[in-house]
Symmetry: C2
Amino acid sequence: MKLSDIGEKRLIEIASSILEQDPDEILGLGVDDAAAKPIYDDLYAVMHTDVLVESTDKLPGQSYRDLAYKAVTANVSDIAAKGAKPYALLSAIGIPRVYDLDVFEELMLGLKDSSSSYGCYVVGGDLSSSRELFIAITILGLTYRDRIMGRRGAKPGDLVCVTGEIGYTSLAYKILFDGWRVDDDLRRTVLERIYRPRARLDEGLTLASTGVVSSCMDVSDGLAISLNTLAEVNGVSILIDRIPIPEGVSYVAERYGMDPIDIALYEGGEEYELLFTVKPSGLRIVEDALSKLGCRFSVIGYVAEGLGVYLSHGERVEARGWQHFVGWSSRSTS
Amino acid sequence: MKLSDIGEKRLIEIASSILEQDPDEILGLGVDDAAAKPIYDDLYAVMHTDVLVESTDKLPGQSYRDLAYKAVTANVSDIAAKGAKPYALLSAIGIPRVYDLDVFEELMLGLKDSSSSYGCYVVGGDLSSSRELFIAITILGLTYRDRIMGRRGAKPGDLVCVTGEIGYTSLAYKILFDGWRVDDDLRRTVLERIYRPRARLDEGLTLASTGVVSSCMDVSDGLAISLNTLAEVNGVSILIDRIPIPEGVSYVAERYGMDPIDIALYEGGEEYELLFTVKPSGLRIVEDALSKLGCRFSVIGYVAEGLGVYLSHGERVEARGWQHFVGWSSRSTS
């Protein structure tokens, strides 16, 4: 059977069934994108790796410098969602030997930019000639046991929240791949967000420090998939009341005859906002903490008994979006 | 300028000149393949990443299971050479979507084998579709400050030693790429060593525990390049008296009209033996320690003032062998 018939999600399940779970690791292989393991007393290493491949991940018009920056963002985002501070980065790069030195230098500059931006150095790397360019980043973060926010922990009654707004990258894909036209200002805003996204590092560390967040992950796989993952690993259902969609995105979506909610749920990804759950009694604490950073967030729904993710009018939110090996599942072709 | 005109060594220099050195990291970006950074008091994280790419690294006849095993060995070897114990592995894998599930399962089994073999779990990973298969492994190791063996530290008067024997992989390349014929037993031995090599983990930890090793690295880049690297980063010269070459390898090399010394120095690589220096007064301690593991090692020469690497009859050992992007430098084509 070909990998394209299987898809990333199932492959991760297969990998997790073959590999053995480290008994000291607390987030769960195949459950969480990151891993956390005690190093000394209650000091934990939080680790993650994420790879960007040119043919799959480099966007039209994106520079190699931005691509490298984004590779680091994807990693920082995942450990920020666990409440860990970046401690060291490593990069393994494959690059065709016919490429120009400029490309390599751009990648290094992107690593340097992101390293300054997140306050974490690249301490090592490997370099190989390959048939296509890829950049695999591994990040090591540190935090204390009681600061770690896992994917598991959400309980019925908890509020479901998300930082920032969702939908910019969905619109960016529509502009880049489906020829949607928007005014120059909006085009610049959405492309900047997808070319060189920033991870919510300070927000993740702050959320962890509140002690009231019951689960957390980023929405880099797309909102619909992320919500379904959160529901699934916690054995709960999630009911969504509202999604904070930027006005410009809603406006353009409607102009093209699409429901903004669908756009935000299914057509995006690579959006490095944090999705988290909190008990209602802790909401005020989260509000105070995030407002000090100037970070807006929204309560988008709540956790309930049951399984699956639903919109308030009862429609099911399916776990679809982009998936490696199979591509967009049931992507709208309008 | 194309990368193929530049070569891996110069690219690493360029990378090191663009990226900033982490002030807390003690091994040196671009100096050592591994990085070491304090985590808590004198407890250090030792980190390394190594990537294998199918078109460059997969040998004829090598299984995907062995390829994945070897990717882990390359990583374990580098942190063992620093005296650190493996603590966690992460894998970032790219694989074409037209590949069969069997290939993916083989890779996972190779990771599982190596994980058991080195007593270290795979705690996380990422998976992407890509135009060619690659497997980037990152390893995190732990050790204490006074146990770390860097590449820097060799002083004139120190003895230069190597574990095991050198030359099996050189012969393997000759068999696989130049059509050399050898008897079945020898063929099996050399191919096994290059298909599924083992890292000198216990030996590295033991050497570190002696406290008398002044510098250490593995010889995975080939003996000539490794010796030159060691001389260069220490600003010393190295004089080589003898190289422990397996009898079978010498015999076959001579039959093909080649000097066994040349074969061992320039035609190999991916040999995971440890190259280390020790003060003459510490030699006995190293002998006792390694003999308890049943590990043979040889004193192959000594460190002197000056620069460069030389054989005892005065011939210079050049820093040539396999280098990414440019391939074999001045490889014999006999």
